[in-house]
């Protein structure tokens, strides 16, 4: 009987092809929206996770609230810094491989006869390469180990600060000392973990040379065993806070905790996007119901005939539910295909118009998303054809046969 129901459903869909195709398109668009948004969301997740996982043995230590995507504290807002004693205390903690520091202070940048007050960041070249990857650079290179009198500058520093644009190998003065631009970061805007738009990076030695200070704004700690990273972070916080007699003086943030908060935000964004996409699916399911109700009305006589020749209410219901499912599953499968290509298209467009770096975003269509899409279309098919099918099944055979 399954074959008969399928046959009847299929032939009825074919007999009303244009209406069926339009109904099917509704479902396809709904599923496409869900698949592509899930794909893009998963792609973002994978990109961020991949980047941060490679830093899973790293702890960022800084003064204040800590490193969070929710609060990007201005580096000028504090005049308290980590001390040499803090750093040597951190180095004494068991399990620590290396501690590198990042110096922060103010300076005057002169270019093209204009002066600008800027924030300088002194950072070791190897840490620089971990924290600010080459991919973020628009032009030039990051600093190498023995580079002197070289700086890497942010997008706004290069293009917005002065009347003339600064280019790679361009000459600038910082506190009267001559520097050459080694690299320029791409435009980042408000996105990203750290905004590089206003940044000026130089080696710690150059930093001390131009500022005469060695204010340690933050330190980057690597550990031997990734499994201990959370415990060591707690120990670092305890040691520094004890040194300064302030429970909230500094914070040590592991990549996994940053990752967790980013994933949480991504998760929320993804859920909201999928919820919006689901509206399309609800509309599509109303479309199926509408098509099925019309079909039931048009086929009243046929339903009567089927009942007259011995079909039970269940037989009639199954036939109509099968038709609804056939429409929605076909629509769902087309939607999955459209979603796969659609998400690639959307990320390609985002890559062109969005901040630099987003071009690397590759949508990830998981098996779960596909199974979910098929499942959702099946459920939509069943639910939206349930009422029309019930209406068909409860028809009186004699009235239905008489129907003209």
């Amino acid at each position: 009987m399954f074959k008969d129901n399928f046959n009847l459903a299929f032939k009825n869909i074919r007999a009303r092809l244009s209406r069926s195709l339009l109904t099917l398109l509704g479902i396809a668009i709904g599923i496409m929206a869900i698949i592509s948004l899930m794909g893009i969301g998963e792609g973002m997740n994978v990109a961020v996770t991949g980047e941060l996982n490679s830093l899973s043995d790293t702890i960022l230590v800084n003064v204040g609230e800590g490193f969070s995507i929710f609060s990007r504290g201005s580096i000028d807002s504090t005049d308290e810094y980590l001390t040499e004693r803090d750093i040597s205390d951190i180095e004494r903690i068991i399990g620590i491989k290396e501690v590198t520091t990042q110096l922060v202070g103010g300076g005057i940048l002169r270019f093209n006869g204009e002066d600008k007050a800027v924030t300088l960041t002194g950072i070791d070249s190897d840490i620089m390469q971990i924290q600010y990857s080459y991919e973020n650079l628009e032009e030039g290179t990051l600093l190498q180990a023995n580079d002197q009198n070289k700086i890497v500058i942010g997008y706004k520093v290069a293009y917005d600060y002065f009347d003339r644009e600064i280019s790679v190998d361009g000459k600038v003065l910082i506190n009267g000392k001559k520097f050459f631009v080694s690299g320029i970061f791409g435009k980042q805007g408000m996105g990203g973990i750290t905004s590089t738009d206003d940044i000026i990076l130089l080696s710690p030695r150059d930093f001390e040379k131009v500022t005469g200070e060695s204010n340690i704004y933050s330190a980057t700690v690597t550990v031997y065993d990734v499994a201990n990273v959370e415990n060591i972070a707690l120990e670092i916080e305890r040691v520094i806070n004890e040194n300064h007699g302030d429970d909230d003086f500094a914070s040590a943030t592991t990549m996994s905790s940053i990752l967790a908060s980013i994933q949480m935000v991504l998760g929320i964004i993804q859920t909201v996007l999928v919820a919006i996409a689901s509206i399309a699916l609800v509309v599509a399911s109303i479309g199926i119901m509408n098509t099925m109700l019309t079909s039931v009305m048009e086929r009243t006589r046929e339903i009567g005939i089927m009942k007259a020749i011995g079909a039970t209410n269940k037989d009639i219901m199954v036939t109509f539910i099968m038709e609804g499912m056939l429409l929605s599953i076909t629509g769902g499968l087309i939607g999955i295909l459209l979603g796969v290509f659609g998400s690639k298209g959307v990320t390609a467009v985002l890559g062109n118009i969005g901040p630099s770096g987003s071009a690397n975003l590759e949508p990830v269509i998981s098996l779960f998303a596909v199974v979910l899409a098929v499942g959702v279309s099946m459920v939509v098919g069943v639910f939206s054809s349930l009422y029309p099918a019930w209406k068909a099944a409860k028809m009186s055979p004699i009235e239905a046969v008489r129907y003209e």
């Binding site: 009987m1 046959n7 009847l8 005939i305 089927m306 007259a308 020749i309 011995g310 039970t312 004699i398």
Partner: protein
Amino acid sequence: MIHISAVIVTKDICKVYGSGSIKVEALKKVNIVIDKGDYISLIGPSGSGKSTLMNVLGCLDTPTSGHLYIDDIDVSTLKENQLARIRREKIGFIFQKYNLIPTLTALENVALVMGFAGVENKKRIIRAKDLLGQVGLSHRIHHKPSEMSGGEQQRVAIARSLANNPSIILGDEPTGNVDTKSGIAILKILENINELGNTVIIVTHNLDLAKRAKRMISIQDGIVSE
């Protein structure tokens, strides 16, 4: 008292449509006994109640009062799905307007009825082909109703009515929509079916065709007489 070899027995069957001033009594205390192997023609003018009686006998409609026994089962007390089973197993219905499923081929139309009865697909196809052969339509099995003449469609409908081996064949003006030649051909098929032991009841307003039956029951204003 129920007749020993009776396949259909009606007891004071009444069918009333509407209520109050617009009440129409289509059947008034109909009492008939139809034996196994009977060939009955039911005649009467338009609006006399013959189609209503056919629909009640075919379990498509339920009587307002009275009892209908088919093979000793009081079907007037049965629920919708039990009635569907009676229609499927004991009755083959032939309509005036053929009533084939328009999207299905002749073969599929005949096989579908057996599908409702749970017959295995292969067996259904073999039997459907055989039945279509018996009504002379072996060459038309893959045609849809819209591609066939009225007479051919009615022969498909006859093949369909026989599919589940019912003991009773009901024809509601089976020759009403076809030309005389096709009408006689259809009657001959029905008479052959009767000769094989099936009970055949047909409604007709053509007296010549009605006279070919073994018994003639006439109905006037809802009252039957022989």
